[in-house]
Symmetry: C2
Subunit: 225 residues, 2 copies
DNA sequence: TTCATACTTCGATCATAGCCGAAGCATGGA
DNA sequence: TCCATGCTTCGGCTATGATCGAAGTATGAA
């Protein structure tokens, strides 16, 4: 009777299929319009509008008006993290369907988790960076001096990231792998930079595809021994 | 339309107040009977029975029959972890009530998270252990040789823990603090040992109370500088 | 055997909330 | 000014599922 309802109200919001679709559509960190989200969820515009109002009221989303469009995005990385955790739980408990399609495999290989790299590649990135002493563990990950040099060379403006409020490094548990990958401001910046360098192409949805050049560069930088 | 429903089915289970109450009642890792859970949730026996059947079918709980009682407990630490994550999200997004009662303060100070110590004390434990080089970070925490010696002296049978399937150390994000505390087999063993040594008394629910002797011993072992 | 306890199953009730059609605003372009 | 687009609000329909009373099953005790 005490704290149950607190989690129930949030969980109930995630528990409707249409809303769950909306949220997963937003998990790539982009902002989408009401119409786009309605289509993603498979409901009409007015139904989606109602759902979005609820998600907004609960501060799970933030809205931004631009002309006659209204863009919604997740209110923070923690929302995405909870969604990933739920996916992991669903998978562990067998709620997931057996249908392991081709898209599923692509998702497992590399995808965007809010705004950073996840999947096999994401886990490999963090493990490689740790092995080389670029990032040091601890419950809160930290960038080493060697790491600062490395990512500086990589083309990341660390001074700018330092100024932001967002933590530089953050371990984010991966639902498909069972290890963490790198989130936080640095994780986001690395993904941006990889896209900029054309190492990675962003497909529809959350799938990320490595270019040939990207796969080579990635393996050289963070690859397995 | 793809992965949304996967998370929705799990989230919907957590989204009912009665079920949420049941789950939070089980978050201390103990096994409770149907009647006890019915009372905790504030519903009749038959209603609780129905809820438990659903949670069991979804593998969020496991049942164990003993005489004419049926005991339920969470099917794993990951379930508790998701619940904690949801609490954290509910708090961040303001869904939590302002009522910050005395019990709330006690919960923040020290509580059991499935089977290990959480709250301020839990975070202090991990930070202290890291500062002293007993546990080494990394995305997956690891026990150092110094740590093995220390916790061996503390009265923990590490050889037995090594044999189990459960990972020894596990970082578990704390919803009240914003840092991790120590979970895993070692985290559980430490809590057991502290209770055995009468450092900690287990009150009703999830609240843990440190004895005078316990607080002293704890501070000496892991306390702040 | 008989009774009591612990729990499950069935059935009926009822409230909630998801859904869409239609109508109403607001913004932007012609 | 007029219309098209994007979105919100309203109203009514409907389905889902939470709830509890009553009856049924299993276990343990007398």
């Amino acid at each position: 009777m005490k704290e149950g309802p607190v989690i129930a109200s949030v969980a109930a919001l995630l528990g409707d299929p249409a809303r769950a679709n909306i949220l997963t559509a937003l998990m790539d960190g982009r902002a989408l319009t009401v119409s786009e989200l309605a289509q993603a969820a498979g409901v009409t515009l007015q139904t989606a509008s109602g759902h979005l109002a609820k998600l907004d009221a609960a501060n799970l989303l933030v809205a931004e008006k631009q002309g006659r469009h209204r863009y919604f995005r997740l209110s923070g990385p923690d929302v995405a993290q909870v969604l990933e955790a739920l996916m992991g739980l669903a998978q562990r408990t067998g709620a997931t369907r057996v249908r392991t399609g081709p898209k599923d495999a692509a998702l497992r290989s590399a995808r965007v988790c809010y705004d950073h790299l996840a999947g096999e590649r994401g886990v490999a990135l963090l493990q490689g960076a740790e092995r080389q002493g670029l990032i040091e563990g601890g419950q809160d990950l930290a960038l080493t001096n060697k790491g600062r040099a490395f990512f500086g060379d990589f083309g990341i403006d660390l001074a700018r990231l330092d100024k932001g409020r967002r933590p530089l490094c953050r371990a984010c548990l991966d639902w498909s792998e069972r290890h963490s990958h790198l989130g936080g401001a640095l994780g986001a910046a690395i993904l941006d930079r990889m896209i900029e360098r054309k190492w990675i192409r962003r497909d529809a949805g959350r799938v990320l595809t490595f270019t040939c050049e990207g796969a080579e560069g990635f393996d050289a930088a963070f690859g397995l021994a």
